[in-house]
């Protein structure tokens, strides 16, 4: 709430955060009579790790779906890289440089890890369906180039050993990593992670945290994530938005949020009879 800068800022660990990349202005999203999100505004800056937290049913995933273009809010504006975004289909949003992972993993179970990650390159492929099908000319050279990108991501996320394994055979923690790999394959400017650590054990969480930081560091990718594990959120993110019952109740650095009375109340509960 306190920082209202336009020229970026420097984080505690010395990273330089740039100007506003995405701005949500007075977003309201209703499903029939139910208001999932009510009049929320916040921004995401170039190069930062931005977390959205809140208790169950607070509207976090709905918010992420608004960013990814899956839901179109009834009110409010979404600004991306200095331009107001008209209502768009999710695939159009993807071509703008926004990629995401899902809370309940959405991979092609029967396909190999490699093929799954290759699908992440789809938005960048130019050759026609026909030439891809007959595997000739431009399609051939194109696939080689894309494969190289994908192999770099496989190396980066340390999943070489499962390159050819069908995703269905993998344990949960690795599937999550493959999903991250697929999102990265799109070379996004903004990466949306919907509960990247849900259901993981401590070791897997530590690995995933490391990868998220590395992605931000190595590729300079801006990251917006939803997470339940408070420890993870506070350690990873530069700024945090807190939602409760579809409203924004806090916004700021992890320390500011941690000491925000409204946030403490939302998480610990307050008695209603006073």
């Amino acid at each position: 709430m306190t920082v209202q800068v336009t020229e970026g800022y420097t984080t505690a660990d010395g990273r330089q955060i740039g100007g506003v990349m995405m701005e949500m202005k007075n977003i309201t999203l209703r499903f029939g009579g139910v208001a999932a999100i009510t009049n929320i505004s916040f921004d995401i800056r170039e190069g930062e790790i931005r977390a959205i937290i809140g208790p169950n049913g607070a509207g976090k995933s709905s918010m992420l779906n608004v960013i990814s273009g899956f839901y179109v809010p009834q009110e409010g504006e979404v600004w991306f890289r200095g331009a107001k975004r008209p209502p768009m289909k999710p695939y159009q949003v993807a071509t703008q440089g926004i990629a995401r992972t899902f809370q309940n993993i959405a991979l092609f179970e029967g396909m190999s890890v490699l093929d799954n990650i290759m699908t992440g390159r789809l938005t960048q492929m130019k050759s026609s369906l026909l030439s891809q099908a007959v595997w000739w000319g431009r399609a051939q050279a194109e696939e080689t180039a894309h494969r190289e990108k994908v192999e770099k991501i496989i190396d980066f996320l340390e999943i070489q050993h499962i390159r050819k394994t069908p995703v269905g055979r993998l344990p949960y923690g690795l599937k999550k990593r493959v999903e991250l790999a697929r999102a990265l394959a799109a070379e996004p400017k903004l990466l949306l992670l919907d509960e990247p650590m849900a259901g993981m054990n401590v070791e897997e969480k530590e690995d995933m945290s490391r990868f998220i930081l590395d992605v931000n560091d190595e590729f300079g990718t801006t990251i917006a994530l939803i997470e339940h594990d408070m420890g993870v959120v506070m350690d990873l993110s530069d700024r945090v938005v807190v939602m409760d019952y579809g409203k924004k109740i806090g916004d700021g650095t992890p320390d500011e949020v941690r000491n925000n009375q409204a946030v403490i109340d939302a998480y610990l509960g307050v008695s209603h009879d006073e």
Partner: protein, 654 residues
């Protein structure tokens, strides 16, 4: 050949490299899988890289006689850095990459290295952590750039930059490098390797060019190794075996060294490369066999039947066919059929289709495991060696391979057995000295060059093969005076797939007891098939049905131990299953995974007391060290069990 004379051929590793470039410069020398593709360097290309690297080292101020520590997984660049260091007149000191930083601090401090070459960020972090304790480290060089951008680079360089600088400055450094390389002779130190240290602190074993080159030459000739061989370099670079196979023999014969993509892809890479010359400790062979058996348990009924039928054929006639003994035509036909249906595909899956010579050493291998591989037609042999001998002391010639011996003395090696049963050897590979430790050198190597191995053994009558019983210092007496050889019993226990590790106690006691470690892969799979639910290693280890299974194994071992009148006293009367795996991080094992008895005895004194005290249950707390060096404690209540003891012919022990 006489040891003292200078050789007619190349007298150093860099000289061998130059010879290989001249003889077959366009043949592959190194391969590494990266980004899913095998990258190849020919001898000429590798030599060019090594040259540039050496000049880069000179640019950073590497002095003759310096020790260069090298830490990381097997990668061509790290092998090259060893040769590059030698070219500069420095001495490479490879370290175990999984060592925690405190262990590294001791070795780095002891060898006084100014230069450290690290594989990746993880190793660099360890070095930075101990920088305060080891102030003489001046330069850190890393190979993998990942995650390294933000580090303070005032005394740190990426390997690629070092190589580039060496290339750019070749006019300045060429003369100096040539001078230093030319100064290398048969007596100069080739490498210094630290022993894993079953007892006390690691010792730096100094090996000269003579040691390495003579040994490589003799052993390569023994097995008729050729320039076309392929090996997979996946064993720790700090281990003498890897140095001999991937540098010594590879340079001598000029064969190709293949480095896996990552430790986890080792099995896939093994299959893709199909090595012709292969080395693995028994543990790896055991692991592979366990995997095969687990997968066959899950296979369909027809496949299982086919597998069992033809494996029976292989067990019966396979080893004889391999040894060239006479076998009937009908058996040959079934074996041929089995090869098409079962053995061939299986060997292909395991990556052993092309193995011409395979070795196992370090520990005793189970006879079933050994004969399984041999019956498939894989020429797996055993050798006996140690760091101080540049590996080879004895090895098995083709056609004379058995599970219970370690073969005949290697070419050029003399072996004698002392009165107390300890094995001594003398060879061209015998180490020069322990670094900065003349007392240990003197107590290990006598004036005539005989080295005490510390192992007790004897030559078998008739065949002349050496048999090793146990560590000489571990062989003891029980309270009643009968012979106590713990390893003999432990090895028998470890041959069961369910048992990963065993430690037997009994010196000066009335009877023997044992700690058992279960094998999580094997027991976990067994539990799954038998609908046994468990949530942790600890819970599974203490499950009553697991205990019953292990009790059965112990009873069987007792039966077989009782059959040997000399060792009948070593039967295990009571045992327990440990709640944690014995681990090198906790100091319970060496980095080469040999148990440290003293440490275990002290650490688990309460458990041993309980075993001898006759209790049936004990509560215990154990400190554990995590991979990152943090400490924690695990608490458990362990069941102590009795095992059936076979009636022994005790009279014979008197």
């Amino acid at each position: 050949m006489t040891v003292s004379e200078a050789p007619s051929g190349p007298a150093s590793i860099p000289a061998l490299l130059a010879r290989n470039v001249a003889n077959h410069g366009d043949k592959p020398a190194y391969r590494e899988k990266e980004f899913g593709i095998w990258q190849t360097w020919t001898w000429a290309q590798a030599a060019d890289e090594i040259n540039a690297m050496a000049m880069g080292f000179l640019a950073l101020g590497l002095a003759p006689g310096d020790h260069v520590a090298i830490i990381g997984r097997n990668r061509p660049q790290l092998y090259w850095s060893m040769v590059a260091a030698q070219m500069c007149g420095a001495i490479p000191v490879p370290l175990y990459q999984d060592a925690v930083s405190e262990e590294m601090a001791y070795v780095l401090d002891h060898c006084g290295s100014r230069f450290v070459v690290c594989g990746d960020q993880e190793q660099v972090d360890k070095i930075l952590e101990i920088e305060g304790k080891v102030p003489h480290i001046e330069q850190v060089i890393y190979v993998d750039k990942r995650g390294m951008r933000k580090y303070d680079h005032s005394r740190m360089n990426a390997m690629a930059d070092v190589v580039a600088e060496g290339r750019a400055g070749h006019h300045r450094f060429e003369a100096e490098l040539a001078k230093r390389t030319a100064a290398l002779d048969y007596n100069s130190t080739c490498v210094m390797l630290y022993t894993s240290g079953t007892t006390g602190k690691p010792k730096g074993v100094v090996l000269s060019n003579r040691n390495i080159i003579e040994t490589s030459k003799n052993s390569s000739e023994f097995d008729h190794l050729r320039p076309g061989e392929e090996v997979l370099a996946y064993l720790p670079m700090a281990w003498v075996g890897d140095f001999i196979f991937s540098i010594g023999q590879a340079m001598w014969t000029g064969f190709c060294v293949n480095c896996p993509e990552s430790p986890t892809t080792m099995m896939t890479d093994l299959r893709e490369i199909g090595p012709t010359y292969y080395f693995a400790p028994p543990r790896v062979f055991e692991g592979q066999l366990t995997n095969v058996m687990i997968r066959m348990e899950d296979a369909g009924r027809f496949k299982k039947w086919l597998f069992d039928k033809y494996m029976a054929v292989a067990r019966r006639v396979g080893p004889d066919i391999l040894d060239g003994k006479p076998v009937s035509g009908a058996d040959r036909f079934s074996y041929w059929l089995g090869n098409i249906l079962v053995y061939g595909p299986l060997k292909n899956t395991l990556g052993f289709s092309r193995v011409r010579v395979g070795y196992t050493a370090g520990e005793a291998i189970g006879p079933e495991i050994f004969s399984f591989y041999r019956s498939l037609g894989i020429n797996l042999k055993q050798l006996y060696g140690q760091t101080e001998a540049s590996v080879f002391i004895t090895q098995q010639p083709d056609g004379q391979v058995r599970a219970d011996t370690v073969g005949v003395p290697s070419p050029g090696v003399e072996v004698k057995i002392a009165d107390n049963g300890e094995v001594f050897y003398r060879s061209p590979g015998t180490f020069e000295s322990y670094y900065k430790n003349p007392e240990s050198t003197a107590s290990t190597k006598d004036a005539e060059g005989w080295v005490a191995t510390g192992d007790a053994g004897f030559f078998e009558e008739g065949t002349g093969h050496l048999r090793i019983i146990d560590r000489a210092k571990d062989v003891g007496k029980m309270a009643d005076g009968s012979l106590f050889a713990p390893k003999y019993v432990e090895n028998k226990l470890k041959f069961y797939p369910a048992i990963l590790e065993a430690v037997v106690f009994g010196a000066s006691r009335d009877f023997c007891t044992a700690f058992i470690n279960i094998d999580l892969t094997a027991v976990g799979n067994w539990a799954e098939r038998n609908n046994i639910a468990y949530s942790s290693y600890q819970e599974l280890s203490q499950h009553p049905r697991v205990l019953e299974m292990i009790r059965g194994h112990v009873a069987e071992v007792n039966q077989s131990v009782a059959a040997d009148p000399m060792l009948a006293g070593c039967q295990i009367h009571r045992f327990l299953i440990l709640h944690k795996e014995l681990d090198a991080d906790d100091g319970e094992m060496t980095r080469t995974r040999k148990v440290r008895r003293k440490v275990i005895e002290e650490k688990f004194a309460d458990l041993i007391a309980a075993l001898y005290g006759g209790k049936s249950e004990i509560y215990t707390e154990t400190e554990v060290t995590y991979e990152d060096g943090r400490k924690g404690a695990i608490k458990a209540t362990l069941t102590l069990a009795d095992a059936a003891v076979a009636p022994a012919q005790r009279m014979a022990a008197e």
